[in-house]
């Protein structure tokens, strides 16, 4: 990065880096403009210009949490929490549920899982394996292609009668352009509010870090149907950077809560904008 405002080479380098991380062309341009504006104000040596670029990126990611003081994202103790886990097909929802069950059980929460993917082959069996691994009861409907909203309804009752502190709801993968499936999700979301008005509800979108620009579209549509409150970014153990999360944080004001870094039970980490940005810019 040059001494004065960025020269063409520096712009090209930064642009390539961001584009190859799936940040997207629009967000990339905005980021570079912000950096240029800063450099017009004051000439920065290269290291400081890079540091400033990192600040820009981190600010984007931290912005959604601006008015919240607890940065540890955990279920509220001695309260009924419901975490709804949503996303497109194969993103890593069920695995994330398993990891979350493990994490919360370990921290002493009384947790329960609703197997509300009643559609995909062996989806219930899959979540049941995670239930066994984590010692977490799984509420499922033995029938095939049953109404997932009914499973959620049953699971809320079960959670209440067991005095559970956390109900994790696994949902079927759905592409955001499938209206009927998004309506189904909206119905699930409504039932949660209605059946558990006292509960603290988190509605999480699982985004695959390998995703390109469609991730933004996903966040937009799921946001409406499921009243999203946060994002889980999975598969960051691969070489993909998950840059679309920047656009998601910026445009939808959604905080990223966890990252998935493997297929194992322990492979879930709290999100750190610092680490994310370091990984994104370090090739």
């Amino acid at each position: 990065v040059g001494q004065g405002p960025l020269n063409e080479d520096a712009v090209m380098t930064i642009e390539s880096l961001l584009l190859q991380a799936d940040v997207g062309i629009e967000a990339t341009e905005t980021i570079i403009e912000t950096l240029q504006a800063k450099l017009k104000e004051e000439a920065l040596p290269p290291e400081e210009a890079i540091a400033y670029l990192k600040t820009i990126l981190q600010d984007i990611l931290d912005q959604p949490l601006q008015n919240q003081n607890n940065d540890d994202f955990v279920p509220e103790k001695d309260t009924f929490n419901i975490w709804l886990v949503t996303g497109v097909n194969g993103a890593g929802k069920t695995t994330t549920i398993g990891k979350l069950a493990h994490l919360t059980q370990k921290s002493g929460y009384n947790c329960i899982i609703a197997a509300a993917d009643t559609f995909r082959a062996a989806a219930v069996e899959q979540v049941k394996v995670w239930g066994e691994r984590t010692n977490t009861p799984v509420i499922a409907n033995p029938g095939k292609n049953t109404d997932p909203a009914a499973v959620v309804y049953d699971a809320i009752s079960a959670a209440k009668s067991r005095n559970s502190e956390l109900l994790l709801v696994d949902t079927a993968g759905r592409l955001q352009n499938k209206k009927n499936l998004m309506d189904e999700l909206a119905k699930i979301r409504r039932i949660i509010s209605k059946q558990a008005p006292e509960a603290k509800i988190e509605s999480l979108l699982v985004l695959d870090a390998t995703l390109g620009q469609n991730g933004l579209r996903q966040a937009q549509v799921f946001s409406e149907a499921a009243q999203l409150s946060g994002v889980v970014l999975t598969k960051l153990d691969g070489s993909a950077k998950g840059g679309v999360a920047l656009a998601v944080a910026q445009q939808l004001n959604l905080p990223i809560r966890f990252i998935g870094v493997g297929e194992g039970i322990e492979d879930l980490r709290p999100f750190s904008s610092y680490e994310f940005v370091e990984a994104l810019l370090n090739g």
Binding site: S16, L19, Q20, A21, D22, G24, I25, V88, N89, G90, A91, G92, G98, F119, R120, A121, A122, E125, Q126, K128, V129, W130, R133, G173, L175, Q176, N177, K178, D208, T210, L211, G212, Q213, N214, G215, R217, K235, D237, G238, S239, A240, G243, V244, E263
Partner: protein
């Protein structure tokens, strides 16, 4: 039909009005718009660079046909090049001289391998071929169960040895079983794996070495971003693929990953997945995908 991109090209092409040839100097703004469109469609940056260079070569010196909007004429060049690069349509599955034909499925986690295995089996069955599916994913919870359930749905037998067996051994015995049953085609489902996971890639290489497949199909999610090029490169270098299946095209992603996969591997995209159901498999049409990538 070329509306979205054409509109954006308008300004770029004002320069060209009154000129009779497309040249290096008057084409630059238009190329920038194409670059932007491809990046928005998730085509890999390096692949975009190569493609743009090709288009520039192709367009350079072309006569501006009088009466035709030069923007339209230029987009036609881009579109044709895209179709050309994306390869032939309807490349069939490999067929062994002597049964069984062996098809190996590979790819990252969650791309749709298991579903595509069942889809292909159903597709072959409709062509009066008999199939066996082999469950070598011993890692993902209930992966075997998933394939068994799909097998039941389409009435195709599944060979499995539980989750304690070695995937290479399961694949080997699966082929034995296929020969014993005398089926026409055996499809081997494998666990999802990251291309940077050396142990898992070595396992896949060993499965391939052991079963000597006639077709090795990389299953790629159409929503994949820049990573499509990297993963294709590594799978092709380390395993050697003979084709690809692009899944989840029923979504609204632009599908630029297809261009990356094709450019990097040189191998054809044989089928596309267009839904969660086992029937939702279609042959690949390069012209349709070209339109989709250009948002037309």
């Amino acid at each position: 039909m070329f509306d979205a991109l054409a509109e954006r090209l308008e300004d770029a092409w004002k320069k060209l009005r009154g000129q009779d040839k497309i040249s290096k100097s008057n084409i630059q703004d238009a190329l920038k718009e194409v670059r932007r469109a491809l990046l928005e469609a998730d085509v890999n940056l390096q692949v975009v660079k190569n493609f743009i260079a090709e288009v520039e070569k192709e367009a350079n010196g072309a006569e501006v046909i009088s009466g035709v909007n030069p923007g339209q004429q230029f987009i036609k060049i881009v579109y044709d090049e895209l179709v050309k690069v994306m390869g032939e349509s309807n490349v069939p599955l490999a067929q062994a001289d002597k049964a069984p034909t062996i098809i190996l499925m590979a790819g990252l986690q969650g791309t749709g391998k298991t579903t595509a295995t069942a889809k292909l089996a159903l597709y072959l069955q409709k062509q009066q071929q008999t199939c066996l599916m082999v469950a070598t994913d011993v890692y993902r919870p209930a992966a075997i169960n998933q394939l068994l359930t799909l097998g039941k749905q389409i009435n195709v037998p599944v060979f499995e040895m539980g989750t304690d067996a070695n995937p290479v051994e399961i694949a080997r015995q699966g082929i034995e079983k296929a020969k014993e049953l005398g089926v026409d085609t055996v499809l081997i489902d494998t666990a999802g794996r990251l291309q940077i996971d050396q142990d898992m890639m070595a396992e896949l290489a060993q499965i391939k070495e052991t079963v000597q497949p006639h077709d090795t199909l990389l299953v790629v999610d159409a929503m994949t971003g820049q990573e499509a090029a990297n993963l294709t490169r590594t799978f092709h270098e380390q395993i050697g693929i003979t084709g690809a299946i692009l899944t989840k095209l029923d979504g609204d992603s632009r599908g630029g990953a297809a261009l990356s996969v094709r450019q990097v591997s040189g191998q054809p995209i044989k089928f596309v997945g267009v839904g969660e159901k086992v029937e939702a498999l279609e042959p690949f049409y390069p012209d349709r995908l070209a339109s989709r990538i250009l948002n037309m």
